[in-house]
């Protein structure tokens, strides 16, 4: 919801989505291909700057989204930085704990690999954040259509996107109705109410789907959701930023680690 709201209300909203997607995908590919911490950190900073300073997404919002992703990444890379074993660890460890019969330790190689992974992933997700926060899904779908992605896939994505909001709306209303009648006052009746809500939500969504089918048929639906393509503005400034950023990223790659 938050991402969707900003995607519709940022300064790059009407910029050609192919340009934004081009920048984001190039940065994503370079982060993955170069596997260079400085290049990745540059990508993180550069994408953040584009999102906050150029698209005017509030830094607080961008930071909040990035924080969520970073936390997830940090948890995921613990396994790389920390080793758990029953065998005696090698001498070259940075730190070690002996807990019962278990050894928990970290090595310089493990820490380096974890940092590389985190920086690489953060650079890549910041590029995706830039795209998601500046480009509404409707523009992305139009772009995919231009790129000849199969129509059925695009139509399903569009319907799922729309249905997500209807589902959330239904969920909110049904839950409020249950709360008004003390549906969540104890743990026991909370579970009961949640189960009822799940079942009813499914039925309601199913019925809504059927009514949507009628509405589509009434307007001549024949298996393909045809809609007008949107009009966009070219943005030479952003294109220059894009080329400059990629050149700088390649320059960072030359720095020895």
């Amino acid at each position: 919801m938050l991402i969707d709201r900003y995607a519709y209300g940022n300064r790059l909203r009407h910029t050609e989505p192919a340009l934004k997607a081009g920048i984001a995908l190039t940065v994503l590919t370079l982060c993955l291909a170069l596997d260079h911490p400085w290049a990745s950190l540059w990508a993180l900073g550069w994408m953040s700057l584009l999102t906050v300073a150029v698209a005017r997404i509030p830094a607080r919002v961008f930071g909040r989204i990035l924080f969520g992703e970073s936390t997830f990444l940090a948890l995921a890379t613990v396994g790389i930085a920390v080793t758990l074993t029953v065998a005696t660890p090698p001498d070259a460890t940075l730190w070690r704990w002996h807990v019962g019969s278990l050894w928990i330790f970290g090595t310089a190689e493990g820490l380096s690999a974890a940092l590389r992974t985190v920086s690489r992933a953060l650079g890549a997700v910041s590029a995706m954040n830039f795209l998601a926060l500046t480009t509404p899904l409707v523009d992305l779908l139009a772009l995919l259509r231009r790129w000849h992605v199969p129509g059925a896939l695009i139509d399903i994505t569009a319907m799922v996107y729309r249905a997500t909001f209807l589902l959330l709306d239904n969920l909110h209303r049904m839950r409020t109705a249950q709360e008004c009648r003390l549906g969540y006052v104890t743990a026991r009746n909370s579970m009961h109410s949640a189960a009822l809500l799940g079942g009813n939500l499914f039925m309601k969504t199913f019925q809504q789907g059927r009514r949507l089918q009628y509405a589509l048929d009434a307007r001549g639906f024949d298996g393909e959701l045809r809609v007008l393509p949107a009009k966009y503005r070219s943005n030479p400034g952003l294109a220059l930023w894009g080329v400059g950023g990629v050149m700088a990223m390649l320059g960072m790659w030359r720095i020895p680690v």
């Binding site: 509404p136 729309r162 009628y214 509405a215 009434a218 307007r219 001549g220 809609v227």
Partner: protein, 250 residues
Amino acid sequence: MTPVFEFADVWFRHNGQSDCALCGLTVSIPSGEKIAVVGRNGSGKSTLFLHCNGLYRPQQGQIRFNGEPLSYTRAGLRQLRQRVGIVFQNPDDQLFSASVAQDISFGPLNLGLSQAETTRRVQQAAELCAITHLLDRPTHALSGGEKARAAMAGVLAMEPSVVLADELLSAIDPWARLDIFEILQTLHDHGTTILLATHDLSVVRYWATHVIVLQRGTVAFSGTPQQLLRNPSLLEATELSKIWWTVELD
């Protein structure tokens, strides 16, 4: 003048239900009128409308559109839906696209119109429904009244000669209702036949030029509002006497 729709002994029963939704319904729907379709919940209003658009097919009986029997072939339905538009009770059932402009463009593009003509129609329908400032907005970010007008625009962009509005007024505020009535009046001035399903007798009294009362899947009355509202025994028979105090008669 040939009636726009003629229903002759039409029967329809929903899957798995023992009661009929339309039970031998016979009615002539006059052309070029503002028609209020009145009846209690479950009286068959929505089922009648879905038959008019070819979404439901009678299990028995016949429906004629402009004097010709309805054709349920692909080409026949396409032609029918080009001329008969339906606005559903809940706009959320109708708005599927991510932006308002794209949603409105769906019908015209399905008619095989060019992008230029579709763009013209989208703009025209948006102007008629006073939503030009919303064209770029996502459909989920609209208010109830705005959704109703966007749904209406999506149908009007197909330039139908008959508009069916299924209890469109039931979930919107009085100001949004006025907007909808303005749109309907403009359509009527251009010769469009309008059928509006409603529970509101003030619509019958002040808006409609013809009224059809449905009762348990049959037509209890079809005629002018004056004929209905000045006939106490008829109001009694159609159960409208229980709610007729909602309007004042001269």
